[in-house]
Amino acid sequence: MIRMLEQVVGPVLASLLTIMMLSYIIGDNAFFRLACFIFVGVASGYAGAIAWHHVLWPGLGEPFVQNGVSTLTDPALIVTVVVPLVLIGLMLFKLSAATAPYGTLPLALMVGIGAGVLVGGAITGTLIPQSMAAMTTLDPRAVAPQTGETGLERVINVIILLAGTLSTLMYFRFTATRSASGETRRTRLMRIVASGGGFFIALTFGVMYAGALAAAVIVLAERVQFLAEVVVNMLGRL
């Protein structure tokens, strides 16, 4: 019975929700909105359930229940259970404007630690490696480690990479000189280089948009294929 429900009701409901979402083709309608509300509600509820069952209860509730009062005396549990509970309690003060200042400590910890992690990771994981990657050699004898490119092809690719990187950086350089007429304008060379950077930026965004469009087309094909399978299954069952 349950398996039947899973094989019939589930795909049917999914098909209906898919059709409701696709109804937006003819315009904004109640079915589309209903499907949106259902997805938002289900997603939120599911996220809350996941957070409780996979984060809060295993991390804080279960140890406290299992160890009881000794949780407050065990140093390890104090660090891993009590302190997080206190921080969570302080965070709850943010619910009221009158008591919001008391929730600043956990918020400051979160923001500070998050910022430190992100900045540190960006410097060590992106800025320095990518800068080093841009300063690659123009030696045609060099071979790309991943793609195996070498010779003129690699030199051209390196030149394009270098030109793209420099021109893009120049595009975001807004320092300019003031002319005699009072007009602030960049030099001709800067304008040319910056326009090349704009071209690279536009090319990058175009590729990203094309990838997103391709992903949407794949999703559309998957949904249509799903509907077709459901229909076939329903017809086959009939």
């Binding site: 996979h54 630690i113 490696p129 094309a210 087309v217 794949i218 559309l220 094909a221």
Partner: protein, 859 residues
């Protein structure tokens, strides 16, 4: 029966007629002119009225009904610094005793003019004459006797009460011989020492007037204070009291007598008789009496018998009185002489202000060849300010009518033996026969010297009503004229409307409770008034003005009611429908009908070979970590791309452990892995395991990279036995038995639909990976930003798989067709449709531009 009076202070009843409360001593009746009983006034300084009874001006203003004046002027008042005594007295009188309001002329002042126009007979011989003081009556009687032949006509007015009036007696010609004292020799000393019949000292000018009689050349002064007294019926009996005692000179009588008597005497004294002893006389004699002496001379003018024309039988009044009434056009000889006498004697007698008055018009006595009186040293300071000819004085009244005595300010050489000319204090009078003699004195300059109630005689209408039968009809509760004159020009009120006493508000609180006519402070203090100082003007530049205008326009635009927008005609989204239809058909046709069919990629891309080599080289004893960091919306793409990758892993027997930094990731991982594992026959718990959700974002990724078991405590959708119980709890599962850190995994594969999650793993996990390869399975849109991590000389990403074409190539290379192959035709058809539509759009745009340019060229 008179009602008892209730004290306004203690509210106790007092007998009728009481002036002061018998219980608390407070005044029972307000200090209102007209309603005040005689002799009941208390000056502002607390002195009794008797102490000020000698102030003739106060007497005149307090009420003419007083029959007698007592000479009780305090000696200290004679020492008043600078200012004339009469002005000082003015300051002492209460607010209810000052002169009439502006526009009203006291009858004693306005009568001469009015009587001429209205009823001269009544005024001259009427009720006012009944109140002529006795001394004047006696003087007139004596002169009448001497000048009896000159009186050719009887005064026809007989309606006056009190036939003892001096004028009446003069007219009657029945002045007894003993009415005045015997005239002493005409010496300066005798001016003060002449005894009076009553035993009281008589001013020397009275004596001189008596002595001169009708035959002397002394001419009357029209507008002297005495003339006013006569017209107003004021009792001037006090003048008899100020007559000097017999045998005393001015120096001796100086300290005792008020100074004004001295200058009154000086007025009477001819200028050639003044040099010696004048100064002492001026100090010892009160000035008011002195210049009034000249006034008396003016009064004596009708009795001189100089001509008979001064008596008009038809009107019954003297000619000089006529001049008083109408304002003579030209001064008579006696006026001229009298005026000169005034200037000369005024300064010597303490009336420096009067002497300086001449100077105010640029004709000082000394400049005109006249001897400068020694009394000039007594000039008050406030008069010195008036001395400046060019000084502009405030509160210049409208339509100033020069006074007669002002016009006669031209000093003239008085012939020897004659008394100096004394100008009559008559406003608006023209000297008879003088014709177009213009006044030499600006009356406006005198306005500051003289009280306004005196100056407003000029403004009194000719046809104004005469004074009431009660004599002086001073308006009660009027601001003092000197106070009016001190007002600012802007707030000067030419006319003060004073309500009747009964209509005035009754003070209900405070020390003035029960009094009427009290000046209320509320209108001045509490009532809002417009600021006298103009508001500061803003100085704005053109730019500021333009900005202000712009802001004003914006505000107006916001306030303007927009017209209702026309309802748009419902337009069907045909373009949307068309595009949707094309896309749906492009997707549906390959799925349902298999057309169009697109060839599979014949070549494996350059990126797939390293990835395939990497996957093929993974050890099977170590699990591979697959991170599901994509949204459910991208599951259609990511499942197709990642399915080929995971299928290869499972096909090779590599254990797969899933993890997700998104709440929905575990479910997606479970769905995909379960489907692939079921197809491959890989058991859960040993072939694959779900670690579940890793909360905390980048920080959690770093924590997981550093200590995986501390970051994730339990798994998701753990494998269960037949009873449904979990076989293992996650980290204790056999698949993770050898995994304690991130580098214990054989590979870390990140399935991401976006760039953020992929970059986070590349940044945070790369330092902990060691030799463990990091593979990125990406959506097509995220590839451009992740590829630099792959193509670097020291790549942070060891393999990349992105998009459906790469997935189809990957499946084809592995000879494991999966979802990617199933979606290849719809994907290709949709992309082809999109390309056609884009091309059609470009052609349409170009054609439209060409058409427009062609129309523009033709047009």
């Amino acid at each position: 029966m008179a009602a008892e009076l209730r004290c306004p202070m203690c509210s106790k009843l007092n007998p009728p007629g009481a002036e002061e409360c018998g219980f608390c001593g407070a005044r029972l009746r307000p200090l209102v002119v007209g309603g005040e009983p005689e002799g009941s006034r208390i000056s502002a300084d607390g002195t009794d009225d008797g102490a000020e009874a000698s102030d003739w001006l106060d007497r005149m203003r307090a009420g003419s009904g007083a029959d007698e004046f007592e000479e009780n002027a305090p000696e200290d008042e004679a020492d008043s610094a600078g200012s004339p005594d009469w002005l000082g007295r003015l300051r002492e009188v209460g607010p209810s005793e000052e002169g009439p309001p502006p526009g009203e002329v006291p009858d004693w002042l306005g009568t001469p003019k009015e009587t001429t126009a209205e009823a001269p007979g009544e005024e001259t011989g009427g009720a006012e004459l009944a109140e002529v003081p006795d001394w004047l009556s006696r003087v007139r009687d004596r002169q009448a006797q001497e000048a009896e032949p000159a009186w050719g006509a009887e005064p026809e007015d007989g309606g006056a009460e009190g036939q003892e009036d001096w004028l009446a007696r003069i007219r009657d010609g029945g002045i007894p011989a003993n009415a005045g004292p015997a005239l002493p020799p005409l010496t300066p000393d005798s001016a003060v020492e002449a005894p009076t019949p009553g035993g009281r000292p008589s001013p020397d000018w009275i004596e001189r007037g008596e002595r001169l009689g009708a035959g002397d050349s002394i001419e009357p002064v029209e507008d002297s204070g005495l003339a006013w007294d006569i017209q107003s019926g004021t009792d001037l009996g006090w003048l008899e009291e100020v007559a000097p005692a017999e045998g005393s000179d001015l120096a001796q009588a100086g300290p005792a007598a008020p100074p004004r008597e001295g200058w009154l005497a000086e007025l009477e004294t001819p200028s050639d008789e003044l040099p010696e002893g004048t100064g002492e006389e001026a100090k010892g004699v009160e000035p008011a009496a002195s210049w009034l002496g000249n006034a008396e001379i003016a009064v004596e003018r009708p009795f001189t018998g100089e001509d008979e024309e001064i008596i008009r039988p038809e009107t019954g009044e003297a000619d000089w009185l006529k001049e008083l009434e109408v304002g003579a056009d030209e001064p008579s000889s006696w006026e001229d002489r009298g005026q000169r006498k005034i200037w000369e004697t005024a300064g010597e007698g303490g009336l420096g202000w009067l002497a300086e008055y001449d100077a105010s018009v640029g004709k000082k006595p000394d400049e005109a060849g006249e001897p400068t009186p020694e009394g000039e040293q007594l000039e008050p300071g406030w008069l010195s300010e008036i001395r400046a000819p060019d000084q502009v004085l405030p509160s210049e009244p409208e339509a100033v009518v020069p006074a007669k005595w002002e016009e006669a300010a031209q000093p003239e050489r008085t012939p020897a033996g004659e008394l100096p000319h004394v100008a009559a204090l008559v406003f608006g009078a023209q000297e008879p026969g003088g014709g177009a003699q213009t006044p030499d004195i600006d009356l406006s300059s005198l306005e500051v010297e003289l009280p306004d109630w005196l100056g407003e005689h000029k403004a009194a209408p000719a046809g104004g009503e005469p004074a009431g039968p009660g004599g002086v009809d001073l308006a009660p509760a009027t601001l003092p004229a000197w106070l009016e004159a001190m007002r600012p020009i802007a707030t000067f009120r030419s006319v003060v409307e004073v309500a009747e006493e009964e209509e005035q508000a009754l003070e209900s609180a405070g020390p003035l409770a029960g009094l009427r006519g009290v000046l209320m402070a509320e209108p001045v203090v509490a009532m809002p008034r417009a600021p006298t100082i103009g508001a500061a003007k803003l100085e704005v530049t053109e730019r500021q003005y333009a900005q202000a205008e712009l802001l004003h326009k914006m505000v107006e635009e916001e306030e303007r009611e927009l017209p209702s927008a026309d309802r748009r005609r419902l337009r069907l989204p045909l373009v949307r429908w068309a595009v949707s239809a094309v896309l749906l058909m492009a997707v549906i046709l390959p799925i349902t009908l298999g057309i169009p069919s697109f060839p599979l990629p014949s070549q494996v891309s350059r990126d797939l070979k390293p990835l395939m080599a990497l996957v093929n080289g993974l050890p099977v004893d170590r699990p591979s970590l697959v991170v599901f960091d994509y949204d459910p919306g991208y599951s259609g793409e990511m499942n197709a791309v990642a399915g080929a990758f995971i299928d290869q892993l499972m096909g090779r027997g590599v254990p797969v452990v899933s993890l997700s930094t998104r709440p929905y990731g575990p479910a997606l991982a479970a769905g995909l892995l379960d489907r692939i594992a079921s197809g491959r026959g890989v058991p859960a718990g040993t072939g694959y395991l779900h670690l579940g959700y890793l909360s905390g974002g980048p920080t959690a990724v770093q924590i997981f990279a550093a200590a995986p078991q501390d970051a994730v405590r339990q798994g998701f959708d753990l494998p269960a036995d037949a009873e449904g119980q979990a076989v293992c709890g996650g980290w204790d599962c056999p698949i993770l038995s050898n995994v304690h850190r991130l580098s214990d995994f054989s590979m870390v594969a990140v399935l991401s639909s976006g760039t953020e999650n992929a970059r986070t793993w590349a940044e945070q996990a790369h330092p902990y990976l060691g030799q463990v390869p990091l593979v990125m399975v990406l959506s097509a849109g995220a590839e451009p930003l992740i590829r630099p991590y792959y193509e670097a000389l020291e790549p942070q990403v060891n393999g990349i798989l992105s998009g459906l074409p790469a997935a189809v190539a990957y499946e084809q290379a592995n000879q494991l067709p999966g979802e990617a192959h199933a979606r290849w035709n719809p994907f290709g058809a949709a992309l082809m449709a999109i390309e056609f539509m884009l091309a059609a759009g470009v052609v349409y745009a170009l054609a439209r531009r060409l058409l427009r340019s062609g129309r523009a060229q033709r047009g």
